[in-house]
């Protein structure tokens, strides 16, 4: 490679030429470093997004009932359909309700566990850290299969509960899914918050302790404000994850008849694509991606302002 053959010995009196030569080598290196990711990002991120937008602007036209289908430009026809599709908006409302309840519970628990791990009150911290994190190694599909069995009236080891309370019925199945998601992700979020607690210099606490602050006061007044950025990060990822729910409800469908084919927005995308109505499915995808992007962006901006205040 020519980059490697840049002469090591450069005459002392010529720093200018050396700088230009090395900066040329650096430019080439940057191009080599960025290109692989850049090309793949373009091919499998940027182009699909553009392609989805294009597809969502097309509509299928037939000449007569039995004519060959033909894609023509339809403007916002698909988006009109999206906005009139009550099933889709019901699914959006469902995951928003899910997120409003599940995300604060999950992050609240994660924060509590992280603070306890960081406090002097616990023994066996390493064990708790691993035990709480272990569910993160269980993929959503597998977690849903496990909990599906645990929820089912006939197979569950908690039959006394599950034969009396229909966890897989229409009223509770959304919260049954919330429990699965919480089970998988609490430990992961706990670790993110815990690592940022570890990064706080201890001197800060020493000073507070000398002033007579209790553990609770230290946690509330010092630790929590300092880990807010970590909590915001976990919240953004949780919001994105909630809007994208698919694996858990789709898997639970074989345990519960209460989950229909448009239970979450992504299920609606999948169902519509299987019809197949690709143009409408593409429009769903675009609306969902935009909504996710805007929601997480607005959340990031509004919390950042609060933090700096």
């Amino acid at each position: 490679m020519s980059v490697l053959s840049t002469p090591a010995e450069v005459p002392q009196g010529a720093p200018v030429t050396r700088r230009t030569r090395s900066s040329k080598a650096q430019r080439r290196a940057v191009a080599l470093f960025v290109a692989p990711f850049g090309i793949l990002f373009l091919a499998f991120y940027a182009i699909p997004i553009v392609y989805a937008v294009v597809q969502s602007l097309l509509t299928v036209e037939r000449e007569g009932t039995f004519g060959a289908p033909r894609q023509v430009f339809g403007g916002f026809v698909q988006y009109q359909q999206v906005f009139q599709n009550t099933a889709f908006w019901e699914s959006v409302g469902r995951v928003l309700l899910f997120g409003v309840v599940q995300v604060p519970i999950m992050l609240g628990l994660a924060l509590l566990f992280a603070l306890l791990l960081d406090s002097p009150l616990l023994k066996g911290k390493k064990f708790f850290r691993l035990a709480f994190f272990a569910p993160y190694a269980v993929p959503g599909v597998i977690a849903a299969i496990m909990w599906g069995f645990l929820y089912s009236p006939s197979l569950s080891p908690f039959g006394a509960v599950t034969s009396n309370v229909d966890l897989l019925g229409a009223d509770l199945v959304l919260w049954a899914i919330a429990n699965i998601v919480t089970w998988v992700y609490v430990g992961y979020n706990m670790l993110i918050i815990y690592s940022s607690l570890l990064a706080i210099p201890t001197e800060i606490y020493e000073a507070a302790r000398l002033d007579g602050a209790s553990n609770l006061q230290i946690a509330w007044r010092i630790k929590i404000p300092l880990v807010i950025p970590a909590i915001i990060l976990t919240a953004v990822f949780s919001i994105i994850g909630t809007l994208q729910l698919l694996a858990e409800p789709q898997t639970l469908r074989s345990f519960s008849s209460a989950i229909n084919s448009t239970f979450t927005p992504n299920l609606a995308v999948y169902t519509t694509a299987s019809v197949p109505n690709y143009n409408l499915a593409a429009a769903f995808s675009v609306v969902l991606a935009l909504a996710t992007f805007i929601l997480s962006f607005v959340f990031l901006k509004s919390t950042q302002r609060k933090v700096t205040q």
């Binding site: 980059v3 840049t6 080598a25 430019r27 290196a29 080599l32 470093f33 960025v34 692989p36 990711f37 850049g38 990002f41 091919a43 499998f44 991120y45 997004i49 392609y51 989805a52 566990f113 306890l116 002097p120 009150l121 616990l122 023994k123 708790f128 850290r129 691993l130 035990a131 709480f132 569910p135 993160y136 190694a137 993929p139 959503g140 599909v141 597998i142 299969i145 645990l150 006939s154 197979l155 080891p157 089970w183 993110i192 918050i193 690592s195 570890l198 990064a199 201890t202 606490y205 302790r209 698919l246 694996a247 789709q250 074989s254 999948y270 690709y278 499915a281 995808s285 991606a289 996710t292």
Partner: protein
Amino acid sequence: MTAAPATASKRRRGGSSTAHGARNRARGPRQSIMSRSAAMLIMGVFTLYFLTPIWWLLTTSTKTGGEITSTAPLWFTADSAETFLANLGRLFTYGDGLFGRWLLNSALYAGVGALIGTIIAAMCGYALAKYEFRGREAIFNIVLSGVLVPATALALPLFLIFSRVELTNTMWAVFLPSLVSPFGVYLARIYAAASVPGELLEAARLDGSGEIRTFFTVSTRLMAPALVTIFLFQFVAIWNNFFLPLIMLRDQALFPVTLGLYAWNSQISQIPELRSLVIVGALVSILPLIIAFLALQRFWSSGLGAGGVK
């Protein structure tokens, strides 16, 4: 954004024991015992919550289909070991060894995919952190918006594109899109900025080492804990990815293990014998990840928080 999680945590752990000792002496022992027990109680209860489903999976894999309902649910039977081996044998022979195939596919998609993806992300993040060049901020902002675009939103358009070039229902359709991880680039940039000193790069330049060689021999070593974290994140993301294989693949022989188990699970009502296979299969499929996490613990537990430290 600055982060030096490893050193910070070490410093913290070294200093904490004396702090605790001082605190305990200052406080009455009674209150300390009460809050200690409360803390242990909370953690104990939630340990049960987190581990019981996995324990149930373990005990249930050692039972025959009939024993699942007829024996004590969270404990083993007299001939657990034999039944477990028999279940394993059936799992790997059912449908011409389909399950083994799925495991291999998952290892390929997630293992090779995350490995290549990590190298690519590390190179890009490193360039963004360590070089001044035109368009640097623009690229970083595009990468950041990529983090906020959920991967599942891309599954359908990817399917439409791959069907245009007739590559759906091939391994490439799942493998290639999995290589791209904007979050990996974001993390790599943070880690590279924190762990690779600019002076070192200057010194390497004066020694006549090329930029690329410096990256692969010096910088990757400094970034090693971070690279393991990025690898693990991407490995988990690919291993757990459901929508992409679901929409891309028809041929069962190409399925990753999650999609395969999903397919078996949805056939249980027609083929009841699949139930115990799904349960044993679920256990076998989560073991590699749990082992990987345990083995690489010291890397990710220090690297994980850096994304949130600002």
